[in-house]
Symmetry: C2
Subunit: 661 residues, 2 copies
């Protein structure tokens, strides 16, 4: 092991294993996760080539091969628990994606949620075994965010009892679904349902797109890959164009809405339940933000402990770059953020399951807040992690730019999370809608509960946006609870301002919609402050549940750093709201510098606690043993350009030029 890393690990004040147990949920879960990871690491079938050296077509092939072997192995090993499947996949995929992923994450769940028992019987077994390879086709070339704008049509023909599917325009071509381009033979297609001359809005249809056995596109279907992207190279995100393409009536998913054989439309009892999948996926993305950022921090912090550069004292050996204050100031707040998001992710998962059980028993009361909270937190955590991953990459200097660092792949695989499953600004505005509704409730005398209950305390009558000297301003910058209070006041103030500005715009005889648009920057700001408060609150509360004193002390410092760094970055809000004074902000900045020094000896152990296998990191710089430079050289030799001593380009283009001169 690299002597720097050995020294770092020896100097830690705590046992990282104990934090690993907290992150996994229990020591037993850690044990089981490692058991599953060892299955893969010891299996020669999983020793695939490094994607970095492959062409896109080769990457696609390796990814398909991985997916196929995964299906076999999961059966062989008898792994069926969703968490266990995720551990299995995470390690096996490194920082990449799988072309058949949507079969499991969208096709099957939609079939289960929206299909009748008969439909599930017909399709479920073969899709689980990849005879049917399904995907989920919603987004169109011209339509993403605004579902009502989707143009694909499904027109019922009672004569043949079929739906006729059409992509009437270029903009209506389905665009982006994963695995659609080359891999899938079925898609759940979202289309505007027309029957008996009337449009009934969006419904889901099971559409065969390629022939089983030959895999050729069926007549009436135009399907293909949408072309190279920033990342997701091994994924065949696809397009789908349908021309008078007929499917049987039974292919409409009919658990809720139905079309009878004669074309009569029967509407669903409630549409709240379709919330479920969205909420699940978004809360999952919060966890993804945590995982991706944790990986990037692991790489950047380990590398910073191994890399020696420049000098602090002239004549002395080059220090570890982790000893530069600027490097600590770049990385430790991101590490604190990674921990914060880990705990938020775990909370979201628990909450989703708790509320989902409630829904199973008919209790929908908490659904609106959960929906609003997942929307905002999805946006807040993915935006933050997105920028933070790039900061980690750049903190690795030049080597961060090489694919050997692993961080570019983490970034390009993660960044779509800011856009898909609800574009982040749109998400923030959904949260804002809930905040405004809650504000109005309070204003009309009703109490609100849950994370927005601070709005109950808003002395709305007395407060003018710019004149909030009435807040209690005794913030203890060493107390997570007190800092949570400060974030709460900030959120309350920004919600108050947005609400008042919205009313003000409406009072100028503008329609509610125009007023909403003209206040939307304020509304996003309010949502961000609300989400920031929620993250701080969850982190602080998590501390109370930790038994081990050494662990509690370490995490408490990270929590303080997270809180104080946020205040420093958004100092304007805290000053303008009279939540803190200028001299307190100065103290905050000083305290941040002290915390950097306090966290420094534990930095490597804190990323070790994430317990990423070298294989999952896919990084030369982030290796557990810190053996960086020799490995970098070995890695580079595999570059496709190095396969010949003299590249043919020389003979073709440069040599003729040289002889001419």
């Amino acid at each position: 092991m690299n002597p720097d890393l050995r020294r770092e690990r020896a100097a830690a004040t705590f046992n990282p294993e104990l934090i690993t147990h907290i992150l996994d949920g229990s020591p037993e879960k850690t044990r089981r996760r490692r058991e599953i990871e060892n299955l893969i690491m010891n299996d020669p079938d999983f020793q695939h080539e490094d994607y970095n050296f492959l062409t896109r077509s080769q990457r696609y092939e390796v990814a398909v091969k991985k997916s196929a072997s995964m299906v076999k192995k999961l059966r062989e090993f008898g792994i069926a628990d969703p968490d266990e499947i995720m551990w299995f996949k995470k390690l096996q995929l490194v920082n990449f994606v799988e072309p058949v992923g949507l079969n499991y994450s969208m096709f099957i769940p939609t079939l289960l949620n929206q299909g009748t028992t008969a439909q599930q019987e017909k399709w479920l077994h073969s899709s689980k075994g990849l005879q049917i390879i399904g995907t989920y086709a919603q987004t169109e070339m011209g339509h993403g965010t605004h579902l009502r704008g989707l143009e694909t049509t499904a027109t019922y023909d009672p004569k043949t009892q079929e739906f006729i599917l059409n992509s009437p325009t270029v903009t209506s071509i389905k665009w982006w679904p994963g695995g659609l381009g080359k891999t899938s033979n079925h898609a759940i297609v979202l289309a505007q349902l027309f029957t008996q001359g009337k449009c009934y809005g969006l419904h889901a249809f099971i559409v065969p797109i390629r022939e089983i056995g030959t895999h050729k596109p069926l007549p009436g279907i135009t399907v293909g890959d949408i072309g190279p992207k920033f990342g997701y190279e091994e994924m065949d995100n696809g397009y789908l164009k349908m021309d008078n393409y007929r499917i049987p009536r039974e292919n409409m998913l009919m658990k809720y809405a139905q079309v009878k054989p004669d074309g009569t439309y029967v509407k669903p009892l409630s549409d709240k339940l379709t919330y479920g999948t969205m909420v699940f996926v978004r809360s999952f993305l919060v966890g993804e933000a945590a995982r991706s950022l944790s990986k990037a921090c692991t790489i950047a912090i380990r590398y910073s402990a191994v890399r020696h550069q420049s000098e602090i004292k002239p004549g002395e050996p080059e220090p570890q770059i982790l000893d530069f204050q600027t490097q600590q100031y770049k990385l430790f707040p991101l590490l604190a953020t990674a921990y914060a998001f880990q705990f938020v992710g775990a909370y979201m998962k628990e909450t989703y399951h708790r509320i989902n059980e409630g829904i199973g028993q008919g209790d929908l009361s908490e659904l609106p807040e959960l929906h609003a909270l997942t929307a905002g937190l999805k946006a807040f955590t993915t935006w933050t992690a997105n920028a933070a991953i790039e900061e980690c990459r750049m903190a690795c200097g030049g080597h961060g730019y090489s694919h050997s660092s692993g961080i570019p792949n983490i970034y390009v695989t993660f960044t779509p999370a800011c856009t898909f499953e609800g574009e982040n600004t749109v998400m923030m505005l959904q949260t804002a809608r809930f905040l405004m509704k809650s504000y109005d409730h309070v204003h009309s005398g009703e109490l609100v509960c849950g994370m927005v209950s601070y709005l109950n305390d808003l002395p709305s009558q007395r407060i003018q946006p710019q004149q909030v000297a009435v807040w209690p301003t005794v913030v203890d910058i060493n107390s997570p609870d007190s800092l949570t209070e400060a974030y709460k006041l900030r959120a309350a103030r920004l919600v108050d301002i947005a609400a008042k500005n919205l009313r003000n715009e409406m009072s100028h005889r503008k329609s509610k919609e125009v007023a909403w648009n003209l206040t939307s920057v304020d509304l996003v700001r309010a949502s961000e402050a609300h989400c920031h408060y929620v993250v701080v609150k969850l982190f602080s509360e998590k501390l109370l549940k930790i038994q081990d004193k050494s662990i509690q002390a370490v995490l408490r410092n990270l929590c303080l750093l997270y809180c104080l760094y946020g205040i420093s970055q958004k100092a304007g809000d805290f000053l303008q709201g009279n939540i803190m004074t200028g001299s307190q902000i100065t103290q905050v900045n000083q305290r941040i510098m002290e915390l950097l020094t306090i966290i420094r000896p534990n930095a490597v152990a804190l990323v070790d606690a994430f317990d990423f296998k070298d294989m999952t990191l896919g990084s030369v710089l982030g290796r557990y043993d810190g053996n960086v430079y020799e490995n970098l050289f070995e890695w580079a030799k595999k570059s496709p350009l190095n396969q010949t001593e003299v590249h043919e380009s020389y003979h073709k283009h440069l040599k003729p030029l040289q002889s001419k001169l």
Copy 2:
């Protein structure tokens, strides 16, 4: 033309052509640039394939081919002026790089700056014609920022009158130089010079690495490509390992330092002159930041005018997404930043040439400030542009993630600028060193001049960091001059704080170096504030030089937006320094929203004024004619995965699985 874009252009309040002339420098320059661009656009030899669909090895080949034809064409067309060559290259390379680029940007200039007349005679002609293809090998695997740490050695052997070059360790392997891996046959190598048993530090040597004619690596040379990166895929960034490799004494560049035949070392008269290239490259990067961000803004704003999505008023057609306040708030401050950086880039270029003329006449007086200013502005502009390009990409929603948008390639090609030619944090600390020196001068009673002259006004004795109520606080938020004053006060305050904290750390019996490290976050903050002030000042001053009233009005709004947006983002600094009050910050935020509405009708014309050819943008979304969706479909069909109806992966991996089930 897309009707939305036609309407946008018709609605503009000014003629974009007039801004184009300002950006180019004069109408004559615009004319000449277009003349050169037309040479390329009308030449079938330049209709190369789209890099996006090629493998890395193919990209490399196309890039070499382009370079070769460029050399021929530049001669053919008689183009020799540096600006004209740049226009030529920019258009031809789209958002990519060329493997022989370093021959022209580093090898030849270093030969000219540091080679004797005899050396220039020997190598210059053949390197200009690409018989010698040179690169510049400085960075090593383990050493980037800290030049003194470089390990490569050049030991003089007086018996044979040769230097013996060695890469003594893995970390000493040269790593990163562009074109080194496969393309170059010579490199200027930086190595520690040893003669007569003594080390004289870094010197530059011309090292043949491949045999002319066969292009095979010479004995003693190990050379190759460092492997795939985030971008620069068509560039063979390389490694170079030398084992007892001998070169003649005459291959040391000896314009300044010399080694006599007997091994006697003659030291250079002055080493200030080597500043020149660094300052030139860094000031060039400021212009690159402007160009890259301008491209990204062009794409995002044109696409936002063409894309219709969601609804503002229910029942009405989907609006252009540029009509959403949140979209304007994302893009218009970035547009204003692009303009700001364009003017800063032009200023840096002028200043460099002016000071360079002075240097020619022996006047080095302005060099230290220029050096400090280019370091800081390089960091400030590249960091800002880097984040801004990604914001532009994400503002294009899902399509931004596709290479069809062009923005991922702009980003990955630009982002190394934050790291190379001086890592940005290191650059900020260099500026800080100059600021601290100037501060000390003022403190000891001397006046300082240039951009730091505001330090002369610092009433240092009276001011405590947290108690600066003595500042004049009458900021007129509608006056660029008054806002420049506000930025000046912010810079002065943060320089003052950093200087005092530095002294305070030193007074705690810490060495100057340790104190510097413990204050470095404050120092970076001070440098950033200084650079921000310089940008604001240059933008404001530029307004005064513009004759046309319609143009002045438009640019004035952009300048105001740039200033106010920065204040809003850094509100804490302005509040804490008592430079502005809370209610002024509220006014700032309101005024920003008004400016968004004011700028909205001119947004498309403002990006048209950058006058990027569609070919340079390499973007389907950013096309001048706005024909997006049909082109997107045509583009996707060229995807390598679409070359067969059924990908072989199906037959190899999925079909066997299906039959087993």
